[in-house]
Amino acid sequence: MGDSIGTTSETTDAALITRWLSGDQRAATTLVERHAQSVARFVVSLGERERTEELVQDTFVRAFQAIETFRSDSRFRTWLFTIAKRLVADHRRSERRRREVVELQEDHLVVAFDALDGMIGDERTQQVRMAMQGLTPMQREVFTLRATEGVPYDEIAQMVGSSAGACRVHYHNALKTIKERVTDA
């Protein structure tokens, strides 16, 4: 069973890029609309919540400037994640400080308080959040990419500089850890 995200019912990213390079500006907008929030989630998962939009914007700036170098044998979204990860690293280097790896603080989670949502699902959400915070950086990155974005292991491997098999192990270890902590809570 395939593990890559398909775009069966909509135009593929590669087709959109082709259309954009042919002059269809709306195709570029569609690309941003399709992936900006995913990149933002990834940036947040790396612990850069305060500068999320700036980093997402810089990611697309870099990507669009180098769009001709994008190879359609990998997914556009994964390519964006790779760029975003580099930008986060650059940003951290430039500021000469390393934040805590994940800052999924309480006040970050409740953007718009919903009492009903809070009553029903907040406890479990908090458990999962705490469990994710307890993962190692590698586990968290692999888990985020795989579990929340559906990125295939081979593409995660390229991003984190590891093998697909090792990423599978990281993912399952992360999953096991989260399950244990959620169950124990």
Partner: protein, 376 residues
Amino acid sequence: MRECEDVTMQEALPTFRAGGLDAAEAEAVRTHLATCDACALELALLTTARAVLDRATPVVDVARITAAAMGARTRAERTSVAEPRVIQLRTRRWWGSRQLLAAAASILVVVSLAIPALRGTGHGPAVDGRLDPMVAVDATGGQGGEAVTPSIDLAGGLAHLSSAQLETFLKGLDQVEATVRAEPVTIAFPLIDSPELREGRPRLAQPPVTTTQRDALEARVRARMAMVLQRQLELTDEQSRRLSALAQRLEPRRRALVAEERAVRAALRAQIAAGDSARDAELTSLLNRMIEVQRARVLLLETEQQELTAFLTPLQRAKYLGIEEQMRMRAEQVQGRPMPGQGPPPGMMPGQGPPGLMRGNPERPRIELRRVPDPE
């Protein structure tokens, strides 16, 4: 609870959750989930994990990001157009004026024959036939609330101005800053006084700059414009802050309108160029869209004025409107475009094409001028 032994199904869950399976695969997973509590629980956990990140992630401004990314690309294209032709010129001692000396100080001087197009009417830029969206990069970090200095964008953005033009524009603002003027406000912009400019030929410009330099320059211009407004309107810090916030909040809509107008104008131009084969229905539709854009622009102006009433006096609002209009016109002026009542812009013959549809020629070659030592 027993772990699921169907590894294939387990491995498919993240992709299933992300909507990446085809119909048959997805159905197989659903069937499995109906009988496997372990996988159902795991899927719920994955969904919760995604929700955790969703709730921690701010919603990003897609329009702003799109405009910034496309604008940056356009700038990159402009500075990396086919290798410029190099012409060596000898400097002459009659380069006496300070401004010309300043221009000549750069080792590499680029004469850009490609005059970027600006708006046709109102606030919107005209179409130059290429992707030329607004730039939304705010190097002051205004979006994140870190900016202390208020920042005002030129209506429709700064992307239309080359870096040299931005510098010139900035000098004009600096001059205003240095001069306390009585009403009415008059902003004088020291154009680089060159024969080329006076004759409507291409201007001297600075060498290509990096994106970072460009962003910083745009940020300076925005901050300076905010400062000018603050002084001319005699704004309090609170008024200045609110004006800046309002300008930034409305800017995405303004940019979207500009982009829309740009697209409509491009399509109209294509239809007009098609001559007899132009499709009436398409033309009608485009003209209707153009009217809608103009209507939206008026609505935006109305919205802006309404919001300004909350913190500006009528006199300040009137001044703001006037200064905004003046800045926009001066921006055109530094691009070498005629002020109202003057002739057509460089690169466009009188009567060439419908208003706002044929401005400049992006395909023209760039000629690079290198300064060489003056022989003694």
